[in-house]
C-alpha cells in the first residue's frame, strides 16, 4: 500500500533536484537530468524498489544542505551553479559524503538513460544524447556493422 506522505520533504526534494541538475546539466548539448525527470524517477523509486535507500537519501540530502549552509551560507538549491559544482567536487572525494554522491550519480544516470517506463529519460532525452539504439527489436547484420 502506498504511503501518502512524501518520501522526501520539500527542502530535500529541492536539494535533490539541484544535485541532479549539476550531475547532468542542461547545456549547449541540450536538456539534462532534471529535464529528463531523473529526480522524479529517484523519488518514485525510493518509494518502491529503492525503498532501502530512502533513509540514506534523507540523511544525505540533509547533510548536503547543512554543509552548504556552513560553507556557503545558503542551502544547496539556493546557490549558483558554479558554487554548487565546487561543493559537489569536494564532497565526491570526502569520507562523509563521497558514497552518497556516488549513489545519487548512479541513480541519476538510471533516471537519465534507463527505460522511460520507470519515469525518467523523459522523451528519451538521454538516449538521444548518446545516440542509443534501445534493445527489443531484432538487430540486422547491417545494424551490427556487418552488411
Amino acid at each position: 500500500m502506498s504511503d501518502p506522505r512524501p518520501v522526501l520533504d520539500p527542502l530535500a526534494r529541492a536539494a535533490l533536484r539541484a544535485v541532479v541538475s549539476r550531475l547532468i546539466p542542461a547545456d549547449e548539448l541540450g536538456p539534462g537530468a532534471a529535464e529528463a525527470g531523473a529526480d522524479d524517477y529517484i523519488v518514485s523509486a525510493l518509494r518502491e524498489e529503492l525503498a532501502s535507500y530512502a533513509d540514506g537519501y534523507r540523511a544525505g540530502l540533509a547533510a548536503i544542505d547543512e554543509e552548504s549552509l556552513r560553507d556557503a551560507g545558503h542551502r544547496f538549491a539556493e546557490l549558483d551553479p558554479s558554487r554548487q559544482d565546487e561543493l559537489l567536487e569536494g564532497w565526491a572525494d570526502s569520507a562523509s559524503l563521497g558514497e552518497f554522491v556516488e549513489t545519487i550519480r548512479e541513480h541519476t544516470i538510471e533516471g537519465f538513460l534507463g527505460d522511460p517506463v520507470h519515469g525518467g529519460n523523459r522523451d528519451r532525452i538521454g538516449w538521444a544524447l548518446i545516440g542509443y539504439a534501445p534493445p527489443g527489436q531484432p538487430f540486422t547484420a547491417e545494424q551490427q556493422g556487418t552488411p
Binding site: R22, L29, G32, G114, D115, I130, Y132, A133, Q144, G145
Partner: protein, 563 residues
C-alpha cells in the same frame, strides 16, 4: 509438517544443473520431484529494460536478492553486506540463471583438471603459492569430454570447433581439448566490432575464434534462433533461443508424469536416515511445511546455497552440518570478478548497441598454461572476449578516468563517444586458498530469518598479478585495433559473483573433499551435489557447460545405481 508420498529422487533447484538432471532422471523412468524456489517465468517478464534487470535483478526477487552474502577479507573482521552487486546476482526460477545468463558456453582447458601436477612439473613445487589449497580434479578432461559432447548435442551449442579428435580445425580455438565432432550449430553472427577485433588479434599473432554459446544461431530441435535483440545478458530470451532445460526435455518430462515440479518451494533441510544416507528434504511452500521422502537427493542450487543448505542441515550424526564431519564444507571458495578493459575509437561508429554479449571474438592465448609462465609471476589465466550488447546505463557509469565523472564535460564526452566504445572482458582464474571460505554469518539473516552465507575472501599476489597481466593484454588488443585510449573497470575481487566455485570440493580423499568424482557426498550416500561448488579449480572461462557436463555424468551414475 505434511509428509508427501516418497519418490525416487528429489532435485533441489531446477537450474542449469538441476533442471537437466531432473529431466534425465525422469527420462530414465524414475519418479522425480523437482523443488524450485522461484517461479516459472514467462516471456512477458522479459521486457528489455536495463533498470529492471541489470540494476535491480527483478528475476531474482523470489529469493536471491534477499539473501545476498556478507563479505569480509580476513577472519578477524566483522562481515558486512556485499555492496555494488549490479550484474553479479543469480536469479530464481525453473531453468535457473540460464534464463538470464549470456550463455557463453565453454569447455574447460584440459590443463584446468591437472593444474597442481602440471605446474609442479613445468615450474617446480615453489611455483604453487603458499597458502593455496590447489588440487587436481579427480577426473581428467578426457573423462568429461563425452559428456561435453552430449550437452552440446542436446542443446544445440553454437560455435566453431578447433580440435576434433586431436586434429586441428582452422578458425577454431587451437588450444581447446579434443572434441568428438563439430559444434551442432555454426557460431553466432559476427559483428563489425568482432571482425575488427578478430583482425587486430591476427595482427598481434594471436589466433581468434568465435565465442561458443548456448544460444541457437539457427533453429535446432524445433526451437528458434537468436534475433540479436540487444537484451540478452541479465534478461530472459523472448525468442526462446537460449538453451534452457524447459525447452529441451523438462516440459516433456513433466507431461510424462515422471517429473513433478513444485515452484515457490524453498528447501530448508536435507535429511539423512539412521545409516547416514540421504532420504529426502524438508521444504516450505506458501504457508505450509512439507517433507519429501526420496531414495536419493540431488542438491543443485548454487555455490552459496549448496553450502548453506548443508550447513543448515546439521543433526546429531552431523553436528557441523550435513556431509561436514571432516570439516570441508565451505572451503576452497573462489570466484570470477569479470574485469574489463574499455577502449574508445574516436569518430568510429562501432555499432555495438544490440546483439548479444555472446557475439564475440575470443582468444585463448592467455588462458590456462597456453603461454610460458616462467617469468610472469603467476599461474593460470583466462580467455579474452569482445562482446556486443553495449548498453546505455553501463556506458555512462564507466567513462574513462581522464574524463570528469559528471557535469558538462562528462556529458560532452558521452555525446561524442558513446557509440565508439569497445571493450574486452576476461575471467581471471583464481586459486583456492586456506583462508578463502564460506560459512554461516553469525549475525546477518535473510528475509526469512535464515543465516546468510558469509564470504571470507581476498585476492593474493597470484590473482593481482594475473588480473593486471590480462587487462594489459586486453588493452594491447584494443590499442592494436585503433583505440585512442583504454581504461579498466575496478579490478578487485568479487566475493559475490555469478561465477562462484568451491565449497563442496570434488576429490578422491574424504579427508580433504566433500564429494567424490561422481558428485556423491563421501559421508552421505545418495546425496549428489551438482554445480560449480564441486570444482577444485575455477578455470578462466564461463562455467556453465562444465556444470552441465558434470550433471549429466553424475546423473547417469545415479540412474544406474537406482535402477
Amino acid at each position: 509438517m505434511i509428509v508427501l508420498p516418497p519418490c525416487d529422487v528429489v532435485v533441489v533447484g531446477l537450474g542449469a544443473a538441476g533442471g537437466l538432471s531432473a529431466t534425465l532422471l525422469a527420462e530414465a523412468g524414475l519418479s522425480v520431484v523437482g523443488l524450485e524456489a522461484g517461479p516459472r517465468h514467462s516471456a512477458s517478464e522479459f521486457a528489455p529494460d536495463e533498470i529492471s534487470h541489470e540494476s535491480r535483478n527483478v528475476l531474482g526477487d523470489a529469493k536471491v536478492n534477499h539473501e545476498i552474502p556478507t563479505v569480509r577479507t580476513s577472519p578477524g573482521e566483522r562481515a558486512v553486506p556485499a555492496a555494488r552487486t549490479r550484474g553479479l546476482l543469480m536469479m530464481n526460477g525453473v531453468d535457473g540463471s540460464k534464463v538470464h545468463s549470456t550463455n557463453v558456453s565453454w569447455r574447460l582447458s584440459p590443463w584446468n583438471f591437472t593444474t597442481l601436477t602440471a605446474v609442479r612439473q613445468r615450474y617446480g613445487d615453489s611455483a604453487v603459492p603458499s597458502g593455496s589449497t590447489l588440487a587436481d580434479w579427480p577426473l581428467g578432461y578426457g573423462e568429461l569430454a563425452p559428456y561435453y559432447d552430449t550437452v552440446e548435442a542436446r542443446y544445440g551449442i553454437s560455435g566453431q570447433a578447433g580440435n576434433i579428435d586431436g586434429r586441428p580445425v582452422p578458425g577454431g580455438n587451437p588450444h581447446e581439448g579434443p572434441r568428438g565432432g563439430p559444434y551442432p550449430l555454426p557460431p553466432l553472427r559476427e559483428t563489425g566490432y568482432s571482425r575488427m577485433m578478430r583482425d587486430a588479434a591476427r595482427g598481434l599473432g594471436w589466433s581468434p575464434f568465435p565465442t561458443p554459446a548456448s544460444i541457437r544461431s539457427q533453429p535446432y530441435a524445433g526451437r528458434g534462433a537468436c534475433t540479436y535483440c540487444g537484451s540478452c545478458t541479465w534478461n530472459g530470451c523472448r525468442a526462446g533461443a537460449k538453451a534452457v532445460p524447459t525447452l529441451h526435455g523438462l516440459a516433456d518430462a513433466e507431461r510424462s508424469g515422471a517429473l513433478a515440479v513444485r515452484t515457490g518451494a524453498r528447501v530448508t533441510r536435507i535429511l539423512a536416515d539412521a545409516s547416514q544416507a540421504a532420504c529426502g528434504v524438508e521444504f516450505v511452500q506458501g504457508a505450509a511445511a512439507y517433507r519429501q521422502p526420496a531414495r536419493a537427493v540431488v542438491l543443485a542450487t548454487y555455490t552459496y546455497e549448496n553450502v548453506r543448505l548443508l550447513l543448515l542441515s546439521a543433526s546429531p550424526a552431523f553436528p557441523r552440518g550435513l556431509a561436514n564431519n571432516a570439516g570441508n564444507v565451505g572451503r576452497h571458495f573462489m570466484t570470477h570478478s569479470f574485469p574489463m578493459t574499455l577502449g574508445v575509437f574516436p569518430g568510429r561508429d562501432l555499432r555495438r548497441w544490440g546483439g548479444t554479449a555472446a557475439q564475440a571474438a575470443a582468444v585463448a592465448e592467455f588462458d590456462a598454461d597456453n603461454i610460458d609462465h616462467s617469468a610472469l609471476g603467476f599461474i593460470g589465466g583466462s580467455v579474452l572476449m569482445t562482446p556486443a550488447e553495449h548498453k546505455a546505463i553501463f556506458t555512462a557509469l564507466w567513462t574513462p578516468p581522464s574524463v570528469p565523472r559528471w557535469g558538462s564535460a562528462w556529458k560532452r564526452w558521452l555525446h561524442d563517444n558513446a557509440h565508439s566504445i569497445g571493450w574486452v572482458w576476461t575471467l581471471p582464474d583464481v586459486l583456492p586458498y586456506e583462508q578463502n571460505v564460506l560459512d554461516l554469518d553469525p549475525v546477518a539473516r535473510d528475509r526469512d530469518g535464515v543465516p546468510r552465507i558469509r564470504c571470507t575472501y581476498r585476492y593474493f599476489d597470484n590473482e593481482v598479478r594475473q588480473t593486471r597481466f590480462l587487462l594489459d593484454r586486453a588493452a594491447e588488443w584494443l590499442t592494436a585495433a585503433g583505440a585512442a585510449e583504454t581504461w579498466h573497470l575496478p579490478e578487485g575481487p568479487a566475493p559475490v559473483s555469478t561465477h562462484a566455485y568451491g565449497g563442496t570440493r570434488m576429490g578422491s580423499d574424504p579427508a580433504t573433499s566433500v564429494v567424490d568424482r561422481w558428485g556423491e557426498a563421501h559421508e552421505v550416500p545418495g546425496l549428489v551435489v551438482l554445480g560449480a561448488s564441486t570444482f577444485p579449480t575455477s578455470g578462466g572461462v564461463n562455467p556453465t557447460e562444465t556444470v552441465e557436463a558434470l550433471a549429466v555424468r553424475s546423473t547417469q551414475r545415479l540412474i544406474s545405481r537406482l535402477a
